[in-house]
């Protein structure tokens, strides 16, 4: 199994520890993981702004970096969503469609492809609020959406449930968008910040010490909100918890 690791630009720049945890976790599970050194970004920032033309060269570079792998794994739901559903600014050659098809967000890769359910090295003795980003929720369908009836399920929750000592708290609106939204966070700053404030208050009011998430971009925004508000909330990526981080 040839597995490539895609570390999104904002994780590379701001949260290298999330990349490290993702890599170490995959290695712990016995995989040989390649990190293509010329990778940059999936082109989502341009594409979500309507700038397809501006996204094309970055998308082409992404495909050059990640062609030929059986799986491309990344700790980011929205990047996976972009690659899988929206990487369309370049001609759809068999190479491009294969890269799009083979890209997986970390949780779905662990849950669906590897079928991992045990993380004996992991222990996280904290009260945790789980934040699943909207792309991870609705585009990757990793958990039940509150607006659609059906049996409850949650892949991130299923994985975290195997972590010793973890205790979940449930906010009043578990799947309300936190307001990051990529460039929305700066071009619609007033609403974005208000949504972020509401989100971190909701988690804090439910008694969360930590917000754990498969989506670091949401976390970057929520962390910035919580710090500004002076809320005693800590943030950590699901890869770090599953890889055995204690705090």
């Amino acid at each position: 199994m040839k597995v490539a690791l895609f570390i999104p630009c904002y994780v590379d720049a701001f949260f290298p520890e999330v990349g490290v945890a993702t890599l170490e976790l995959l290695e712990r599970l016995g995989l040989e993981v390649v990190y293509p050194l010329n990778q940059t970004c999936c082109a989502q920032p341009m594409a979500n702004s309507g700038c397809h033309q501006e996204a094309a060269a970055t998308e082409a570079l992404f495909v050059r970096n990640f062609k030929g792998f059986d799986y491309i794994v990344t700790p980011s739901g929205s990047c996976t969503h972009h690659i899988r559903d929206h990487l369309t600014a370049i001609p759809q050659t068999p190479e491009v469609t294969a890269v799009r098809r083979n890209t997986f967000e970390l949780v779905e890769f662990l849950h669906d492809i590897l079928g991992v359910r045990a993380f004996p090295w992991a222990e996280f003795p904290h009260k945790v609020g789980l934040h699943i980003g909207c792309s991870t929720l609705r585009a990757l369908n990793e958990a039940k959406m509150s607006e659609i009836a059906g049996m409850p399920f949650s892949k991130p929750h299923a994985l975290l449930s195997a972590v010793k000592g973890i205790e979940f708290v449930t906010p009043a609106r578990p799947d309300e968008c936190c307001g990051f939204g990529g460039t929305f966070s700066v071009f619609e700053e007033p609403v974005s910040a208000r949504m972020g404030y509401d989100k971190v208050h909701d988690h804090r009011n439910a008694g969360a010490e930590y917000i754990v998430s498969p989506d670091m971009s949401c976390v970057m925004h929520q962390k910035g909100c919580a710090e500004r508000l002076g809320l005693p909330l800590k943030f950590i990526h699901i890869a770090q918890v599953l890889n055995g981080a204690r705090a």
């Binding site: 630009c9 290298p16 309507g50 659609i148 009836a149 460039t183 071009f187 700053e189």
Partner: protein
């Protein structure tokens, strides 16, 4: 034509803390009631599919159904008028009223007449229009457009309504009891029903096989508006057609459940023919709908039955209020319809979304709302309607992110990260990120640097 600045308008809305708290909670409450009601029907998803198929079929055979509707309405004794646009609609209404000497028009709720700015047209021509829906009346008296397509004054607190009524209806400004306020509106509106020369309704559905206009209300004001005056008008957008009366059940089962979380509206009225000795006129209005029907990516928006559920679920709408969109239609459905009226003016609206996708999931007719929002962004960019700061930022980002060398130069060294690459994400629009949020701390190394140090160039563990 001034462009709408949704961000700026929402910032004002957010500053009124009591208002935004109430607005968000009230609409989220409607969302939750809608969840419970829709979950009570095991066939909900099947109903959505059926509703979507009926609408899709009708829209792809629209000319035939419109003519069938016209024939049947005429057979029922109704006069049918066709209006190409808002101007033709308003002129038709005016001519009908003017030639019959009607000076007052009582009307039920209609987003179409808002779209046509009918009150603004008729007022200066000597015709007084009285909105009789409670929420619409509040908005009319306060000189504001409706902020929500189902609950038009939802952005107001009852104390705001007390102030508006005190100013316009002479009520006690200190009394904000909802029963008192509603009763005051009722008592002051009643005489208008009796005195008006003409009454007007909109339509929730128009049934082609019978020529029936179906209106769903909770206040009974539509029935009074059309059952009392001698001249009865119905303004109908051409997309309101459904083929047969049997199709109505699909929509009626969903409409109020999805809109308000109630199984059905208090009143569902079928208007078919004028009362003896009176006249009834139906105006079928296009106003851009045919053009929208021809848009490959956007014609699906015409399936909308105006339940407002996408607005109630939208986290952005709940926190910015309908008026911040500066358009007849606000919220998710608004941002995909408004650009068809004026791309330049409404170019900011498709960006007033986090693309979270819950709007599409609650849509009773399966409009792919968030996908259309995404598409509109492309159209806006391609037609040169993005703000320069964003367009240039994206060009720069696209160049940097397409080059491993430039990318690494941008984020490579500690302390320089936020000055280059994430500029487009963080430091635009006068440091918007940092206004209310802390900026992430740049770590000593990037992931790539860690990787090279710990796994080596060949990817082996050191």
């Amino acid at each position: 034509m001034k462009r709408i600045d949704h961000a700026e308008a929402s910032s004002k809305f957010i500053k009124a803390k009591d208002h935004i708290d109430f607005h968000d909670k009230r609409l989220w409450d409607l969302r939750q009631k809608r969840d419970r009601e829709s979950e009570s029907l095991p066939e909900w998803q099947e109903l959505r599919t059926l509703a979507s198929q009926i609408k899709e079929h009708t829209l792809t055979h629209l000319a035939d159904y419109l003519e069938e509707f016209e024939r049947n309405a005429q057979r029922n004794g109704v006069t049918v008028h066709w209006a190409r646009d808002a101007a033709e609609h308003n002129q038709t209404v005016f001519d009908l009223l003017h030639t019959r000497g009607a000076k007052t028009l009582v009307k039920a709720k209609s987003m179409l007449t808002e779209e046509c700015e009918m009150r603004e047209f008729l007022g200066p021509r000597g015709i007084e229009v009285i909105e009789t829906d409670l929420g619409e009346r509040i908005q009319q008296l306060d000189n504001e457009p409706p902020s929500h397509i189902v609950v038009p004054a939802v952005h107001k607190l009852r104390t705001d309504v007390a102030a508006v009524f005190a100013r316009t209806l002479g009520t006690d400004p200190a009394n904000s009891d909802v029963h008192y306020l509603a009763e005051s509106q009722r008592q002051t509106t009643r005489p208008h029903f009796l005195a008006a020369g003409a009454g007007m309704i909109g339509a929730n559905f128009a049934v082609a096989e019978t020529g029936t206009v179906v209106v769903c209300t909770n206040e009974g004001n539509a029935d009074l508006s059309i059952n009392l005056p001698g001249l009865q008008l119905a303004s109908i957008g051409i997309e309101k057609m459904i083929p047969r009366i049997e199709h109505l059940g699909v929509f009626i089962r969903m409409l109020s459940r999805n809109a308000l979380g109630s199984p059905i509206t208090q009143i569902t009225s079928h208007f078919r023919a004028p009362r003896p000795g009176t006249e009834m006129h139906i105006i079928l209005v296009d106003n851009g709908r045919s053009e929208r029907l021809g848009m490959a990516d956007f014609w699906y928006s015409l399936k909308c039955i105006r339940c407002g559920a996408c607005m109630n679920t939208c986290p952005v709408y709940r926190r910015s209020g309908g008026l911040s969109y500066g358009a007849t239609y606000s919220g998710p459905i608004g941002v995909i319809i408004d650009p068809t009226f004026n791309l330049r003016k409404y170019a900011a609206l498709p960006f007033a979304s986090t693309l979270n996708g819950s709007c599409s999931n609650v849509c009773p007719v399966r409009i792919n709302i968030h996908e259309q929002i995404y598409k509109w962004r492309q159209v806006i960019s391609e037609r040169g309607q993005l703000p320069m700061v964003k367009k240039n930022g994206m060009k720069l980002a696209g160049r940097i992110l397409a080059s491993p060398r430039l990318y690494r130069a941008a984020i490579g060294a500690a302390g320089t990260g936020i000055e280059y690459l994430p500029n487009f994400m963080m430091y635009n629009r006068m440091n918007a990120w940092g206004k209310q949020r802390e900026v992430p701390v740049t770590p000593p190394t990037t992931f790539r640097q860690w990787y090279l140090a710990n796994r080596g160039k060949k990817g082996k563990k050191k």
